[in-house]
C-alpha cells in the first residue's frame, strides 16, 4: 500500500520557515497536486518526501513505514526534475537503466522494463541517442521514462512541464494523466500553474507561505474555496474580490457598493463588513430579464478581447473592482460606463479579518 502521510512536517532553513506543520494524507494510487506561488513550500514538501532534505520536525510515512531517516534510495520513490537531470554522457537507454543496474536487477529484466517503458512513451527510436541530441520534449519523456522504469511506490514530479512551450505542455499534461491512470502509482506533483493542478489532480493541495490552505478535489476547491487566497489563486481568470459594507433594511440584507445597494434577500447572516468575491464567468452585462443581482453601473478600466469572450475590468461605485466577462466581442472603451449584473447564488462571502469563507449567496 503506497499511501503517503505528512504528519506535522516542519522545515526551517536557518531563520526562514519553509514549511509549517504540514499534515496531509495521500491515498494509494492518488494523483495529488501541490500547487501554490513560489515560496509556498510545495517544493520543500516534495524534497522532504524524496529525502533530499532533512526534516526539522514531524514525520513522513510511505505506506506504514516512517521514512524520516531513510536515504532516498531506500524509499522506493522516483522523481522527475524540472530540468530533467538526465545523465549527459549516457545514452537514453543507459539513463533508463542506471537506477535498475544499481539495484542489481537482471539484465533480462532491465532490458524488458526499458523496452516497455520506451514503448509506453514513444521513445523507442531515441534509445541510443545522448541527451544533448534530444529536443526539450523528448528529454522530458526520457525523464518520465527514467521514473517509470523503476516501478516505485511513489512518483514525485517537480514542475516537469515548466520548461516546455505551451502547446507541448498541454499535450504532455494529458499524457501524464493517462500514464498515471494506467500505471496506478501514487503520484505527488508540484506546480505553480493552477490550470495544471485542476486538470491533473485527483485532489489539489493549495499552499501559501509554507502553510496548507486547502486540500480537496478540483471541483470542491473551485466551488468552495476555503479562503480568499484559494479563491483568487484557483480559477482563471481570477475571482474578483472586493471589501464592502452590508446593511440591514426592511428585513433584508444588502451589500453597499458606494451608494448602490444590492439586495440579497431576507436570509443570511452577513457581518457589517465583508469581502465579497465573484468569478468573472458569473458576471454578465446587464440584462433585466436574466434575474441578475444589480444593476451595477461602473466605469471601464481596461478591456481584454480574447476572441471567444471579452474581459472588462470595471470600477464599481465605492471603489470595488470587478472583472466582467462578456460573450463574443464587446466594444468598450476605458472611461466609458458599463452596466452589469451578478448571477444569483454565486457571490462568495469571506470574513474581513481572517479571510476565511463564510458562505455563498
Amino acid at each position: 500500500m503506497a499511501t503517503v502521510t505528512f504528519e506535522q512536517v516542519t522545515k526551517h532553513f536557518g531563520e526562514t520557515t519553509a514549511l509549517a506543520e504540514l499534515s496531509l494524507a495521500i491515498e494509494d494510487g492518488e494523483f495529488m497536486v501541490l500547487v501554490g506561488p513560489s515560496g509556498s513550500g510545495k517544493t520543500t514538501a516534495l524534497r522532504l518526501l524524496a529525502g533530499l532534505e532533512a526534516l526539522t520536525s514531524g514525520t513522513i510515512r510511505i505506506g506504514e513505514r516512517v521514512v524520516d531517516d531513510i536515504a532516498p534510495r531506500e524509499r522506493d520513490i522516483a522523481m522527475v526534475f524540472q530540468d530533467y537531470a538526465l545523465y549527459p554522457q549516457m545514452s537514453v537507454r543507459q539513463n533508463l537503466a542506471f537506477g535498475l543496474k544499481i539495484r542489481k536487477l537482471s539484465r533480462a529484466e532491465i532490458r524488458r522494463r526499458c523496452d516497455e517503458t520506451a514503448e509506453l512513451l514513444g521513445i523507442e527510436a531515441l534509445l541510443d541517442r545522448k541527451p544533448r541530441a534530444l529536443s526539450g520534449g523528448q528529454r522530458q519523456r526520457v525523464a518520465l521514462g527514467r521514473a517509470l522504469v523503476r516501478e516505485p511506490q511513489v512518483f514525485l514530479m517537480d514542475e516537469p512541464l515548466s520548461n516546455l512551450d505551451a502547446k507541448l505542455r498541454a499535450q504532455t499534461r494529458s499524457e501524464i494523466r493517462r500514464l498515471q491512470r494506467e500505471v496506478g502509482t501514487t503520484t505527488v506533483y508540484v506546480t505553480h500553474d493552477q490550470i495544471e493542478a485542476m486538470t491533473l489532480g485527483d485532489r489539489i493541495a493549495t499552499m501559501r507561505d509554507g502553510v496548507l490552505e486547502q486540500v480537496g478535489d478540483p471541483d470542491s476547491v473551485y466551488e468552495q474555496p476555503a479562503n480568499t487566497f484559494v479563491a483568487s489563486f484557483i480559477g482563471s481568470p481570477a475571482m474578483s474580490l472586493a471589501r464592502v459594507r452590508s446593511e440591514r433594511r426592511n428585513g433584508g440584507v444588502g451589500l453597499m457598493l458606494g451608494e448602490l445597494r444590492i439586495a440579497l434577500g431576507a436570509a443570511a447572516d452577513v457581518p457589517a463588513e465583508v469581502i465579497v468575491g465573484v468569478r468573472p464567468e458569473h458576471t454578465r452585462l446587464w440584462d433585466s430579464e436574466a434575474g441578475l443581482l444589480g444593476p451595477i453601473d461602473g466605469r471601464v478600466d481596461y478591456v481584454e478581447a480574447l476572441g471567444r469572450e471579452t474581459l472588462i475590468g470595471v470600477s464599481a461605485p465605492g471603489g470595488a473592482r470587478f472583472v466582467v466577462e462578456a460573450e463574443g466581442r464587446v466594444r468598450a472603451e476605458p472611461g466609458e460606463s458599463l452596466r452589469f449584473g451578478l448571477r444569483k447564488g454565486r457571490l462568495y462571502l469571506f470574513d474581513v479579518a481572517d479571510e476565511r469563507a463564510i458562505g455563498r449567496l
Binding site: 532516498p72 522523481m79 526534475f81 524540472q82 537531470a85 538526465l86 545523465y87 549527459p88 542506471f98
Partner: protein, 272 residues
C-alpha cells in the same frame, strides 16, 4: 575599410611580437640542424643534419633521459589526477566537519615554493634510502600537484547542476558510483586540462631532480640537458639537438591541447 586597415595593423603588431617570441626557438632549431661540431649557434644551417638528433639520442643518452622523464611525469599525472578527483569531490560536494580548515591547508600548497621544502626533503629521503629513486621525484611532485588539483577539481564539482546529483542519489547511486559513472564522464575537459598542466610542470621540473638524483640512469630530461651542457661547451650542435629533444614532448602536447593549457592557466590563475 577602416576595419580592414585596423585588422592589418593588428596583424603587423601581433606578427612582430610573435617573431620575437619565436626567434630563440627557431634559433635553437637551426643550430640543432647545423653541421656537427659548430661552436657558434644560430646560424642558418647549410644543410639539414638530422643525424644530430640521433647522435644526441644515443651518444648523448637523451633516450634514457626522456624515458626517465616520461616515467616520472606520467606517474605523477596518473596518481595526482586520481587523488585530486577524490579530494576535490569531497571538498566540493560533501559537508563534513573541518572542511573549510582542511581546504585552506591544501590552498597553502599552492603558495609554498619547493625551494622551501627541498632541503629537508632531501635529507629525510636520504635517511629513508629513497634518494636516487624515481619515488623521490614522483612523491613530492604528486604532493604539490595535489594541492592544485584539489582546488581545481573542487571548483569543477561545485559547478555541477544540483539536480543531476539528486537524480543519481534517488536512483540509488552511492557516492563512489556517482563520482565515477556520472560526474567524471561529465568533467572530462576539466580533468584533461588539469592533467595537461601537471604534465607540463612535472616534465619541466629541474631543481628536484638536481637534488635527488645523482645516478645518471635516472636523470630526467632537464637534468640530463644541464649535465650535457656542462660537458659539451664547444659542441653547440649536439647541445642544441639535446635541448630540442628535451623540449619537444611538452611542446607537442601543448600544440595539440593548447586550448586546454591556456584555458587552464587562465581560469586557474584568476580563481587563485
Amino acid at each position: 575599410m577602416i576595419a580592414r586597415r585596423e585588422q592589418f595593423v593588428n596583424y603587423l603588431i601581433l606578427a612582430f611580437f610573435s617573431l620575437v617570441a619565436l626567434y630563440p626557438v627557431l634559433g635553437i632549431l637551426s643550430t640543432a640542424l647545423g653541421a656537427p661540431g659548430e661552436s657558434a649557434g644560430f646560424h642558418l644551417p647549410s644543410g639539414l643534419h638530422f643525424s644530430n638528433f640521433s647522435d644526441a639520442w644515443t651518444q648523448g643518452h637523451f633516450s634514457s633521459y626522456l624515458r626517465s622523464s616520461a616515467i616520472v611525469a606520467l606517474s605523477v599525472v596518473a596518481i595526482s589526477t586520481v587523488l585530486s578527483i577524490l579530494s576535490g569531490y569531497a571538498f566540493g560536494l560533501m559537508r563534513f566537519r573541518g572542511a573549510t580548515a582542511l581546504f585552506y591547508v591544501f590552498l597553502l600548497g599552492l603558495m609554498v615554493p619547493e625551494e622551501a621544502l627541498i632541503v629537508p626533503l632531501y635529507f629525510d629521503l636520504r635517511d629513508l634510502g629513497l634518494t636516487d629513486t624515481y619515488w623521490a621525484l614522483i612523491l613530492p611532485q604528486v604532493a604539490l600537484s595535489v594541492a592544485f588539483g584539489t582546488f581545481w577539481m573542487r571548483a569543477f564539482f561545485v559547478s555541477t547542476p544540483r539536480s543531476l546529483l539528486e537524480a543519481a542519489r534517488i536512483d540509488g547511486a552511492s557516492s563512489w558510483t556517482t563520482l565515477w559513472r556520472v560526474l567524471v564522464p561529465f568533467g572530462r575537459p576539466a580533468i584533461l586540462t588539469m592533467m595537461v598542466l601537471v604534465f607540463m610542470w612535472t616534465w619541466n621540473e629541474f631543481l628536484l631532480a638536481l637534488v635527488m638524483v645523482s645516478n645518471e640512469s635516472l636523470r630526467t630530461a632537464p637534468l640530463g640537458l644541464a649535465f650535457f651542457q656542462g660537458q659539451h661547451t664547444s659542441d653547440l650542435t649536439l647541445l642544441a639537438a639535446g635541448a630540442v629533444i628535451v623540449a619537444t614532448p611538452v611542446v607537442v602536447v601543448y600544440i595539440f591541447l593548447q586550448r586546454h593549457f591556456i584555458r587552464g592557466m587562465l581560469t586557474g590563475a584568476v580563481k587563485g
